[in-house]
Amino acid sequence: MASNSEMGSADFESLLSTSDVELLKRAWRNEKAAPEILPYQGDLVERAKGQIELVEGNIEDYVEDGIDPLVVSLYQMDLDRTQFLLRSYLRVRLLKIEKFMFHILKSEEAESRLSEQEKAFARRCAADLTKHFEESVLLKLPENYQTVQKQSLISDEDDMVPEPNLDTFVVCRSKNSLKLNLYEEGETPVILDLDRGEPSFVRYRAVKRAFESGEVELI
Protein backbone atom coordinates (compact mmCIF):
# COMPACT_ATOMS: atom_id res chain seq x y z
CA MET A 1 0.00 0.00 0.00
CA ALA A 2 1.83 3.04 -1.20
CA SER A 3 1.06 6.27 0.56
CA ASN A 4 1.82 9.56 -1.11
CA SER A 5 4.96 10.70 0.57
CA GLU A 6 5.33 14.30 -0.47
CA MET A 7 3.86 16.97 1.75
CA GLY A 8 2.52 20.01 -0.08
CA SER A 9 4.18 23.40 0.31
CA ALA A 10 3.37 25.51 3.30
CA ASP A 11 1.16 27.96 1.47
CA PHE A 12 -0.69 26.12 -1.16
CA GLU A 13 -0.98 22.41 -1.15
CA SER A 14 -1.16 21.05 -4.65
CA LEU A 15 -3.81 18.46 -5.16
CA LEU A 16 -1.49 16.14 -7.04
CA SER A 17 0.79 14.93 -4.29
CA THR A 18 -1.02 15.28 -1.00
CA SER A 19 -0.73 12.73 1.72
CA ASP A 20 -3.73 11.44 3.57
CA VAL A 21 -2.61 13.27 6.66
CA GLU A 22 -2.62 16.51 4.72
CA LEU A 23 -6.12 15.78 3.43
CA LEU A 24 -7.29 14.87 6.91
CA LYS A 25 -5.85 18.08 8.27
CA ARG A 26 -7.67 20.07 5.65
CA ALA A 27 -10.93 18.24 6.30
CA TRP A 28 -10.54 18.88 10.02
CA ARG A 29 -9.84 22.55 9.49
CA ASN A 30 -12.76 23.01 7.15
CA GLU A 31 -15.11 21.17 9.44
CA LYS A 32 -14.07 23.30 12.39
CA ALA A 33 -14.37 26.54 10.52
CA ALA A 34 -17.70 25.95 8.77
CA PRO A 35 -20.93 26.67 10.66
CA GLU A 36 -22.85 23.81 9.07
CA ILE A 37 -21.94 20.18 8.80
CA LEU A 38 -19.99 19.26 5.69
CA PRO A 39 -20.21 16.07 3.62
CA TYR A 40 -18.61 13.11 5.33
CA GLN A 41 -15.24 12.13 3.91
CA GLY A 42 -15.86 8.43 4.22
CA ASP A 43 -13.02 7.22 2.01
CA LEU A 44 -10.47 9.40 3.70
CA VAL A 45 -11.54 8.26 7.15
CA GLU A 46 -11.41 4.61 6.14
CA ARG A 47 -7.95 4.98 4.65
CA ALA A 48 -6.69 6.85 7.67
CA LYS A 49 -8.10 4.24 10.00
CA GLY A 50 -6.41 1.53 7.99
CA GLN A 51 -3.06 3.25 8.11
CA ILE A 52 -3.36 3.91 11.82
CA GLU A 53 -4.09 0.28 12.54
CA LEU A 54 -1.17 -0.77 10.39
CA VAL A 55 1.23 1.49 12.23
CA GLU A 56 -0.08 0.38 15.59
CA GLY A 57 0.69 -3.19 14.63
CA ASN A 58 4.12 -2.17 13.42
CA ILE A 59 4.93 -0.41 16.64
CA GLU A 60 4.04 -3.49 18.65
CA ASP A 61 6.36 -5.52 16.45
CA TYR A 62 9.14 -2.99 16.81
CA VAL A 63 8.88 -3.01 20.56
CA GLU A 64 9.06 -6.78 20.59
CA ASP A 65 11.98 -6.85 18.20
CA GLY A 66 13.84 -4.44 20.36
CA ILE A 67 14.30 -1.77 17.76
CA ASP A 68 15.87 1.47 18.92
CA PRO A 69 13.36 3.05 21.33
CA LEU A 70 14.03 6.41 19.74
CA VAL A 71 12.69 5.23 16.43
CA VAL A 72 9.74 3.61 18.12
CA SER A 73 8.89 6.78 19.98
CA LEU A 74 9.06 8.78 16.75
CA TYR A 75 6.64 6.43 15.05
CA GLN A 76 4.43 6.71 18.10
CA MET A 77 4.46 10.51 17.81
CA ASP A 78 3.45 10.39 14.19
CA LEU A 79 0.70 7.96 15.08
CA ASP A 80 -0.52 10.22 17.87
CA ARG A 81 -0.70 13.21 15.59
CA THR A 82 -2.71 11.36 13.00
CA GLN A 83 -5.01 9.90 15.61
CA PHE A 84 -5.62 13.34 17.03
CA LEU A 85 -6.66 14.66 13.63
CA LEU A 86 -9.02 11.78 13.01
CA ARG A 87 -10.58 11.92 16.46
CA SER A 88 -10.97 15.66 16.43
CA TYR A 89 -12.57 15.53 13.00
CA LEU A 90 -15.13 12.99 14.14
CA ARG A 91 -15.74 14.84 17.41
CA VAL A 92 -16.35 18.17 15.74
CA ARG A 93 -18.90 16.52 13.49
CA LEU A 94 -20.60 14.91 16.46
CA LEU A 95 -20.77 18.24 18.23
CA LYS A 96 -22.41 19.79 15.22
CA ILE A 97 -24.88 16.92 14.92
CA GLU A 98 -25.85 17.30 18.55
CA LYS A 99 -26.33 20.99 18.12
CA PHE A 100 -28.42 20.78 14.97
CA MET A 101 -29.94 17.34 15.14
CA PHE A 102 -33.55 18.26 14.45
CA HIS A 103 -32.53 20.47 11.60
CA ILE A 104 -30.43 17.76 10.03
CA LEU A 105 -33.10 15.11 10.33
CA LYS A 106 -35.59 17.39 8.70
CA SER A 107 -33.68 17.91 5.49
CA GLU A 108 -32.72 15.16 3.04
CA GLU A 109 -29.74 17.09 1.84
CA ALA A 110 -28.24 17.62 5.25
CA GLU A 111 -28.87 14.04 6.22
CA SER A 112 -26.99 12.83 3.18
CA ARG A 113 -23.86 14.48 4.55
CA LEU A 114 -23.69 12.10 7.48
CA SER A 115 -22.13 8.67 7.61
CA GLU A 116 -24.30 5.68 8.47
CA GLN A 117 -23.17 5.65 12.08
CA GLU A 118 -23.71 9.36 12.38
CA LYS A 119 -27.24 9.02 11.05
CA ALA A 120 -28.01 6.33 13.61
CA PHE A 121 -26.52 8.53 16.29
CA ALA A 122 -28.55 11.52 15.21
CA ARG A 123 -31.79 9.60 15.18
CA ARG A 124 -31.21 8.05 18.57
CA CYS A 125 -30.18 11.36 20.02
CA ALA A 126 -33.22 13.13 18.62
CA ALA A 127 -35.51 10.40 19.86
CA ASP A 128 -34.01 10.54 23.34
CA LEU A 129 -34.15 14.29 23.51
CA THR A 130 -37.73 14.39 22.29
CA LYS A 131 -38.75 11.81 24.83
CA HIS A 132 -37.00 13.72 27.58
CA PHE A 133 -38.68 16.99 26.66
CA GLU A 134 -42.07 15.37 26.35
CA GLU A 135 -41.91 13.63 29.65
CA SER A 136 -40.48 16.43 31.66
CA VAL A 137 -42.18 19.45 30.19
CA LEU A 138 -44.25 19.23 27.08
CA LEU A 139 -47.04 16.95 28.21
CA LYS A 140 -47.71 19.29 31.08
CA LEU A 141 -48.19 22.24 28.79
CA PRO A 142 -51.57 23.10 27.31
CA GLU A 143 -52.64 21.22 24.16
CA ASN A 144 -51.34 23.54 21.52
CA TYR A 145 -47.84 23.77 22.82
CA GLN A 146 -46.83 20.18 22.95
CA THR A 147 -44.50 19.70 20.01
CA VAL A 148 -40.76 19.83 20.19
CA GLN A 149 -40.34 21.45 16.85
CA LYS A 150 -42.72 24.36 16.97
CA GLN A 151 -43.45 26.85 19.66
CA SER A 152 -47.11 26.20 19.24
CA LEU A 153 -49.37 24.70 16.60
CA ILE A 154 -50.16 28.17 15.44
CA SER A 155 -46.62 28.81 14.20
CA ASP A 156 -46.09 28.46 10.49
CA GLU A 157 -42.69 26.95 10.75
CA ASP A 158 -40.62 24.91 13.06
CA ASP A 159 -39.25 27.76 15.03
CA MET A 160 -37.95 25.75 17.94
CA VAL A 161 -35.39 24.06 15.77
CA PRO A 162 -31.91 25.58 15.93
CA GLU A 163 -30.44 26.09 12.51
CA PRO A 164 -26.82 26.64 11.69
CA ASN A 165 -26.06 30.29 11.25
CA LEU A 166 -24.97 30.62 7.65
CA ASP A 167 -24.51 34.34 8.06
CA THR A 168 -21.61 33.97 10.40
CA PHE A 169 -18.18 35.08 9.28
CA VAL A 170 -15.32 32.79 8.44
CA VAL A 171 -11.72 33.27 7.41
CA CYS A 172 -11.15 32.05 3.91
CA ARG A 173 -8.35 31.99 1.40
CA SER A 174 -8.72 31.48 -2.30
CA LYS A 175 -6.52 29.55 -4.66
CA ASN A 176 -6.74 32.08 -7.44
CA SER A 177 -7.87 35.62 -7.74
CA LEU A 178 -11.57 35.54 -7.28
CA LYS A 179 -14.43 37.96 -7.40
CA LEU A 180 -17.22 37.33 -4.96
CA ASN A 181 -20.71 38.64 -5.08
CA LEU A 182 -21.37 39.59 -1.53
CA TYR A 183 -25.05 40.24 -1.31
CA GLU A 184 -28.01 38.11 -2.10
CA GLU A 185 -30.00 38.18 -5.28
CA GLY A 186 -31.99 41.24 -5.99
CA GLU A 187 -29.78 43.66 -4.17
CA THR A 188 -26.93 45.84 -5.19
CA PRO A 189 -24.03 43.48 -5.66
CA VAL A 190 -20.86 44.32 -3.86
CA ILE A 191 -17.89 42.64 -5.43
CA LEU A 192 -15.03 41.55 -3.26
CA ASP A 193 -11.69 40.92 -4.88
CA LEU A 194 -9.84 38.10 -3.25
CA ASP A 195 -6.26 37.77 -4.29
CA ARG A 196 -4.51 34.49 -4.31
CA GLY A 197 -3.53 33.38 -0.87
CA GLU A 198 -4.89 36.37 1.01
CA PRO A 199 -6.88 35.42 4.11
CA SER A 200 -9.98 37.47 4.78
CA PHE A 201 -13.05 37.42 6.95
CA VAL A 202 -16.13 36.96 4.81
CA ARG A 203 -19.73 35.98 5.42
CA TYR A 204 -20.08 32.23 5.08
CA ARG A 205 -23.17 32.36 2.91
CA ALA A 206 -21.33 34.48 0.37
CA VAL A 207 -18.45 32.03 -0.01
CA LYS A 208 -20.44 28.84 0.38
CA ARG A 209 -20.61 27.97 -3.27
CA ALA A 210 -16.98 28.79 -3.94
CA PHE A 211 -16.02 26.75 -0.92
CA GLU A 212 -18.00 23.72 -2.01
CA SER A 213 -16.44 23.79 -5.43
CA GLY A 214 -13.00 23.91 -3.88
CA GLU A 215 -11.92 27.33 -5.07
CA VAL A 216 -11.73 28.67 -1.58
CA GLU A 217 -10.57 27.09 1.64
CA LEU A 218 -11.43 27.95 5.22
CA ILE A 219 -8.74 28.47 7.81
Binding site: K32, V161, G186, E187, P199, F201
Partner: protein
Protein backbone atom coordinates in the same frame (compact mmCIF):
# COMPACT_ATOMS: atom_id res chain seq x y z
CA UNK B 1 -9.34 17.22 24.36
CA UNK B 2 -10.25 17.16 20.73
CA UNK B 3 -12.99 19.73 20.61
CA UNK B 4 -15.07 18.29 23.39
CA UNK B 5 -14.96 21.04 25.95
CA UNK B 6 -15.34 23.74 23.34
CA UNK B 7 -18.82 25.24 23.15
CA UNK B 8 -17.71 27.29 20.19
CA UNK B 9 -16.80 24.66 17.69
CA UNK B 10 -15.31 27.04 15.22
CA UNK B 11 -12.60 28.37 17.45
CA UNK B 12 -9.14 26.92 17.40
CA UNK B 13 -7.23 26.81 20.63
CA UNK B 14 -3.65 28.12 20.55
CA UNK B 15 -2.43 24.56 20.97
CA UNK B 16 -4.31 23.57 17.85
CA UNK B 17 -2.76 26.45 15.93
CA UNK B 18 0.63 25.31 17.12
CA UNK B 19 -0.23 21.78 16.05
CA UNK B 20 -0.87 23.00 12.55
CA UNK B 21 2.34 25.01 12.50
CA UNK B 22 4.33 21.96 13.54
CA UNK B 23 3.89 20.47 10.11
CA UNK B 24 6.03 23.11 8.49
CA UNK B 25 9.35 21.92 7.17
CA UNK B 26 12.64 22.98 8.68
CA UNK B 27 16.22 22.04 8.00
CA UNK B 28 18.25 20.02 10.47
CA UNK B 29 21.72 18.57 10.54
CA UNK B 30 21.67 15.13 12.11
CA UNK B 31 24.63 13.88 14.07
CA UNK B 32 23.84 10.22 13.82
CA UNK B 33 22.91 7.55 11.32
CA UNK B 34 19.34 6.49 10.95
CA UNK B 35 17.28 4.64 8.42
CA UNK B 36 14.48 6.37 6.57
CA UNK B 37 11.30 6.82 8.55
CA UNK B 38 8.07 5.82 6.87
CA UNK B 39 5.42 7.76 8.68
CA UNK B 40 1.77 8.03 7.85
CA UNK B 41 2.56 11.66 7.21
CA UNK B 42 5.33 10.95 4.78
CA UNK B 43 8.77 9.48 4.35
CA UNK B 44 11.79 11.18 5.87
CA UNK B 45 15.44 10.33 5.93
CA UNK B 46 17.76 8.69 5.64
CA UNK B 47 19.74 10.49 8.24
CA UNK B 48 23.46 10.79 7.68
CA UNK B 49 25.73 12.77 9.97
CA UNK B 50 26.48 16.30 8.76
CA UNK B 51 24.14 16.06 5.80
CA UNK B 52 21.26 18.55 6.17
CA UNK B 53 17.73 17.23 5.61
CA UNK B 54 14.26 18.67 5.62
CA UNK B 55 11.83 17.37 8.19
CA UNK B 56 8.62 18.63 9.78
CA UNK B 57 9.05 20.84 12.79
CA UNK B 58 7.58 18.35 15.26
CA UNK B 59 10.03 15.69 14.20
CA UNK B 60 12.92 18.12 14.34
CA UNK B 61 12.06 19.18 17.87
CA UNK B 62 11.76 15.56 18.97
CA UNK B 63 15.17 14.74 17.52
CA UNK B 64 16.74 17.84 18.97
CA UNK B 65 15.43 17.09 22.44
CA UNK B 66 17.17 13.75 22.32
CA UNK B 67 20.35 15.38 21.17
CA UNK B 68 20.31 13.80 17.73
CA UNK B 69 20.58 16.86 15.56
CA UNK B 70 21.11 20.56 15.34
CA UNK B 71 18.87 23.09 13.68
CA UNK B 72 19.68 25.24 10.71
CA UNK B 73 17.67 28.37 11.54
CA UNK B 74 15.38 29.43 8.69
CA UNK B 75 16.48 32.37 6.58
CA UNK B 76 13.83 34.71 7.93
CA UNK B 77 14.95 34.19 11.52
CA UNK B 78 18.10 36.30 11.30
CA UNK B 79 18.93 39.55 13.02
CA UNK B 80 19.25 41.37 9.70
CA UNK B 81 15.97 40.22 8.26
CA UNK B 82 14.05 40.78 11.45
CA UNK B 83 15.46 44.25 11.96
CA UNK B 84 14.35 45.11 8.46
CA UNK B 85 10.90 43.72 9.09
CA UNK B 86 10.60 45.61 12.35
CA UNK B 87 11.58 48.90 10.74
CA UNK B 88 9.02 48.36 8.01
CA UNK B 89 6.29 47.43 10.48
CA UNK B 90 6.96 50.53 12.52
CA UNK B 91 6.34 52.83 9.57
CA UNK B 92 3.05 54.60 10.21
CA UNK B 93 0.17 53.37 8.03
CA UNK B 94 2.20 50.44 6.81
CA UNK B 95 0.66 47.12 5.90
CA UNK B 96 1.73 43.87 7.48
CA UNK B 97 5.12 42.66 6.35
CA UNK B 98 5.39 39.23 4.80
CA UNK B 99 6.33 36.73 7.45
CA UNK B 100 5.80 33.01 7.51
CA UNK B 101 2.32 32.20 8.70
CA UNK B 102 3.66 30.19 11.59
CA UNK B 103 6.45 32.54 12.61
CA UNK B 104 5.34 32.91 16.21
CA UNK B 105 5.06 29.18 16.80
CA UNK B 106 8.27 28.33 14.96
CA UNK B 107 10.22 31.01 16.77
CA UNK B 108 8.91 29.93 20.14
CA UNK B 109 9.70 26.27 19.59
CA UNK B 110 13.18 27.08 18.39
CA UNK B 111 13.86 29.36 21.35
CA UNK B 112 12.66 26.72 23.75
CA UNK B 113 14.60 23.81 22.34
CA UNK B 114 17.38 25.07 20.12
CA UNK B 115 18.83 28.19 21.68
CA UNK B 116 22.37 27.29 20.80
CA UNK B 117 21.56 26.86 17.14
CA UNK B 118 20.51 30.45 16.62
CA UNK B 119 23.24 33.07 16.39
CA UNK B 120 22.53 36.15 18.55
CA UNK B 121 19.66 34.37 20.14
CA UNK B 122 18.75 37.11 22.61
CA UNK B 123 18.74 39.76 19.92
CA UNK B 124 16.58 37.64 17.67
CA UNK B 125 14.21 36.87 20.51
CA UNK B 126 13.71 40.48 21.44
CA UNK B 127 13.24 41.40 17.78
CA UNK B 128 10.52 38.80 17.35
CA UNK B 129 8.75 40.04 20.44
CA UNK B 130 8.90 43.62 19.26
CA UNK B 131 7.53 42.59 15.90
CA UNK B 132 4.68 40.78 17.60
CA UNK B 133 3.83 43.83 19.67
CA UNK B 134 3.83 46.19 16.73
CA UNK B 135 1.67 43.88 14.64
CA UNK B 136 -0.76 43.32 17.48
CA UNK B 137 -1.12 47.03 17.95
CA UNK B 138 -1.73 47.43 14.24
CA UNK B 139 -4.40 44.76 14.38
CA UNK B 140 -6.17 46.49 17.23
CA UNK B 141 -6.28 49.84 15.52
CA UNK B 142 -7.51 48.14 12.39
CA UNK B 143 -10.33 46.48 14.30
CA UNK B 144 -11.48 49.84 15.54
CA UNK B 145 -12.24 50.91 12.01
CA UNK B 146 -15.12 48.50 11.49
CA UNK B 147 -18.33 50.10 10.50
CA UNK B 148 -21.69 49.19 9.06
CA UNK B 149 -20.22 49.12 5.60
CA UNK B 150 -17.56 46.57 6.43
CA UNK B 151 -18.49 43.56 4.43
CA UNK B 152 -15.22 41.73 4.61
CA UNK B 153 -11.94 42.14 6.37
CA UNK B 154 -8.73 41.36 4.60
CA UNK B 155 -5.93 39.89 6.57
CA UNK B 156 -3.04 39.95 4.20
CA UNK B 157 0.19 38.60 5.65
CA UNK B 158 -1.30 38.17 9.08
CA UNK B 159 0.02 35.04 10.72
CA UNK B 160 -2.12 32.11 11.81
CA UNK B 161 -1.76 32.84 15.51
CA UNK B 162 -2.71 36.49 15.05
CA UNK B 163 -5.76 35.62 12.98
CA UNK B 164 -6.84 33.16 15.63
CA UNK B 165 -6.41 35.79 18.32
CA UNK B 166 -8.82 38.24 16.77
CA UNK B 167 -11.16 35.70 15.26
CA UNK B 168 -13.83 35.60 18.02
CA UNK B 169 -14.08 39.34 18.24
CA UNK B 170 -14.16 39.91 14.51
CA UNK B 171 -16.82 37.28 13.96
CA UNK B 172 -19.10 38.68 16.63
CA UNK B 173 -18.57 42.27 15.53
CA UNK B 174 -19.20 41.53 11.86
CA UNK B 175 -22.22 39.39 12.68
CA UNK B 176 -23.68 42.16 14.80
CA UNK B 177 -23.19 44.72 12.04
CA UNK B 178 -24.70 42.42 9.48
CA UNK B 179 -27.69 41.63 11.63
CA UNK B 180 -28.45 45.23 12.37
CA UNK B 181 -28.19 46.05 8.73
CA UNK B 182 -30.60 43.32 7.82
CA UNK B 183 -33.89 44.97 8.84
CA UNK B 184 -33.09 47.75 6.39
CA UNK B 185 -32.42 45.34 3.64
CA UNK B 186 -35.48 43.29 4.44
CA UNK B 187 -37.50 46.45 4.29
CA UNK B 188 -36.07 47.10 0.85
CA UNK B 189 -37.00 43.67 -0.27
CA UNK B 190 -40.51 44.07 1.05
CA UNK B 191 -40.96 47.24 -0.87
CA UNK B 192 -40.06 45.46 -4.06
CA UNK B 193 -41.96 42.23 -3.61
CA UNK B 194 -45.16 41.90 -1.74
CA UNK B 195 -44.48 38.67 0.11
CA UNK B 196 -44.00 39.05 3.83
CA UNK B 197 -40.51 38.65 5.12
CA UNK B 198 -39.64 35.42 6.86
CA UNK B 199 -38.72 35.48 10.45
CA UNK B 200 -35.02 34.77 10.75
CA UNK B 201 -34.45 31.21 11.89
CA UNK B 202 -33.42 30.69 15.45
CA UNK B 203 -29.72 30.51 15.93
CA UNK B 204 -28.14 27.78 17.86
CA UNK B 205 -25.84 30.05 19.82
CA UNK B 206 -27.83 31.28 22.72
CA UNK B 207 -25.03 32.47 24.87
CA UNK B 208 -24.56 32.13 27.72
CA UNK B 209 -26.20 28.79 27.75
CA UNK B 210 -25.24 26.07 30.13
CA UNK B 211 -25.05 22.62 28.55
CA UNK B 212 -27.75 20.29 29.81
CA UNK B 213 -25.37 17.48 30.44
CA UNK B 214 -22.17 17.80 32.39
CA UNK B 215 -19.29 16.89 30.15
Amino acid sequence: MAGQTDPHISLFSPQEVEFMAEDEMVEIVPNMNMDPLNFIAGDYGRFVPQIPTQVPLWLAVALKRRGKCTFRPPAWLSVDNLTQVLEAEREPQSKFQPLPSGYIEIARLLFDHARDDIPDMYMVKSLVEDIRDVRLHKLETNLGTFGADTTAVKMNNVSAMEVNLVRPFVIRALEAFYRHDKPERDADRDARSSSSSRQPPREANNEPRRPLRQR
